[in-house]
């Protein structure tokens, strides 16, 4: 459906560039708007003000600072794995963005098992965190890595189960089709808003967002990097650009997960198709390839705003509370949600 037929290498190059933008732009925006500014305002201070108007160039200053720092590795660390660990975490983020659709033709892959793929590659980052903690040869790092692994395994399950509700309702695991189903859908015959799954799958949405918060090891689930007791856990020994990679990966993953949540629950790139009299993906106007990414970006900002709001507001869970919350509250509720969804799907 592209107006110009690009050769394969040009398409691949475009995809790589698009993926890089889709990972780095949200990360930068989230760090500046939320981490620098929103947190400061919530704490009655101004935040960075010197670099650029309202400190908007602060990010570049920070990146420059990190890049010129000395690359320190602990003497007894397992050097090769120590260097590999941050990259594994970042690669997981880049793999995640590959299935997110941004418009009727603006996607990286139109993958049948998209949701399944998303759940699979998001678990790769656990591997990076675990070996980062181990290879630092530092007991705080090891403890942090172990806590992170335990937490990520525990919260992986409610995330999978929460997404299942959407998959049952959409009858597909293809992210693009999930978007279409929501925007072409109707609620009891009224199609003015489409049928965003946040209304029918609200329980699933809440569980998904909580699980994402835990997967990102953000407060109130930041036991693995608890700075006051573990000195940042698995990141303790990292400095310079390796720390920068961890830092980018954390906020980029927050952005990508918000994009995925907006695809699964908020209707993704689409507008309700009835507004323009569209019926299927073939009717959708070409300008949606430009408007779609903007809509996705807006939805992502709203969701990351919620995530950061929670992050800056709540105190940390204790390790046992955290595990009990996952296994005894979230998983049973998610299972119940699946059961109710399946029954209603068969009945209607």
């Amino acid at each position: 459906m592209f107006a110009v037929d690009l050769p394969y290498w040009a398409q691949s190059l475009l995809r790589v560039l698009g993926g890089t933008v889709a990972v780095l732009l949200p990360a930068g925006t989230i760090v500046y708007l939320f981490l620098f500014k929103m947190m400061s305002f919530m704490q009655s201070r101004l935040g960075p003000m010197e670099a650029g108007p309202y400190g908007s160039m602060q990010l570049f200053a920070e990146v420059g600072k990190w890049l010129q720092k000395e690359d320190i590795q602990p003497a007894k660390a397992d050097k090769r794995i120590f260097k590999m660990a941050p990259l594994i975490v970042l690669v997981s983020t880049f793999l995640l963005v590959a299935v997110v659709p941004f418009g009727p033709d603006a996607y990286f892959t139109n993958f049948d098992a998209g949701v399944f793929y998303m759940l699979a590659v998001s678990s790769i980052s656990t591997l990076g965190i675990l070996i980062a903690g181990w290879s630092s040869a530092n007991k705080y790092s090891l403890l942090g890595g172990l806590r992170a692994a335990g937490q990520l395994i525990a919260y992986e399950l409610p995330m999978v189960l929460a997404v299942l509700g959407v998959v049952i309702q959409a009858e597909t695991m293809n992210m693009q089709t999930i978007v279409l189903r929501q925007n072409a859908g109707a609620m009891f015959g009224w199609n003015g808003l489409g049928n965003p799954y946040i209304l029918t799958q609200f329980v699933g949405f809440v569980i998904f967002m909580i699980a994402v918060q835990a997967e990102l090891t953000q407060a109130p689930f930041d036991m693995p990097i608890a700075e006051s007791e573990l000195v940042s856990g698995y990141m303790t020994e990292y400095s310079g650009f390796r720390f920068l990679i961890f830092f980018i990966a954390e906020f980029a993953t927050a952005g990508v997960f918000a994009l995925i949540a907006s695809v699964l629950f908020l209707g993704g790139w689409g507008v309700p198709f009835s507004w323009f009299g569209w019926h299927g993906v073939n009717d959708v106007a070409n300008w949606m390839n430009i408007a779609g990414p903007l809509i996705m970006f807006t939805k992502m900002m709203v969701l990351t705003f919620l995530m950061m709001w929670v992050r800056f507001s709540y105190p940390r869970f204790r390790e046992d509370q955290l595990q009990r919350f996952a296994w005894k509250v979230l998983i049973p509720v998610a299972l119940l949600n699946i059961m109710v969804t399946a029954v209603l799907k068969v009945v209607f």
């Binding site: 049948d112 678990s123 591997l127 172990l146 692994a149 395994i153």
Partner: protein, 173 residues
């Protein structure tokens, strides 16, 4: 590779990809048993699993490939590493990794290889499979939940028994 070379429509790129990934997998697999550090061995095993997933992708079996990543890399290997790090996580070389009877493993491995090669040759011989037929995820789930429902249930019961067994073993009170 031999089977593909004999057929008329050879997908050269796929065969080259297969060769490279297979070579990397063999190197990683040797590293698993040769490494003097448990965590390095486990990470090499991750590389082997990832290679297997890549091979599935080359065969256009995307669902199996994703399952391989989710189950083996995302769950099994992480639990494995978790266990290793909780009990004997040492950076550097370890000396007592080799079992005294390690040589016994060689005939067992050869026997396994022999029986697998025999079964594959017996079953397929010189048959040519159709050039990769795309199986969609929906078709796959239809075949699991229609003709193969009973084996699927049987497997689920085996897994359930294993889960209950694990709980019984782990609970002390």
């Amino acid at each position: 590779m031999l089977a593909a070379a004999a057929s008329t429509d050879i997908n050269v790129a796929e065969n080259i990809g297969f060769g490279i990934i297979a070579a990397l997998m063999i190197v990683a697999a040797i590293n698993v048993v040769r490494s003097s550090n448990v965590v390095h061995a486990a990470l090499s095993l991750v590389a082997v699993m990832a290679g297997a997933a890549a091979q599935y992708l080359l065969l256009a079996a995307e669902f199996v490939a994703v399952t391989q990543v989710l189950v083996y890399i995302g769950a099994v290997m992480i639990l494995f590493l978790f266990g290793v790090m909780l009990t004997r996580a040492r950076v550097g070389r370890e000396t007592d990794l080799n079992n005294k009877s390690w040589a016994l493993g060689i005939p067992v491995a050869l026997l396994m290889l022999g029986s697998m090669v025999y079964v594959l040759l017996k079953a397929f011989g010189t048959d040519h499979l159709d050039p990769v037929a795309q199986v969609s995820t929906a078709e796959l789930s239809d075949s699991i939940f229609k003709p193969f429902l009973l084996p699927f249930w049987a497997l689920s019961f085996v897994l359930l028994a294993a889960v209950i067994g694990a709980i019984v073993l782990a609970r002390k009170d």
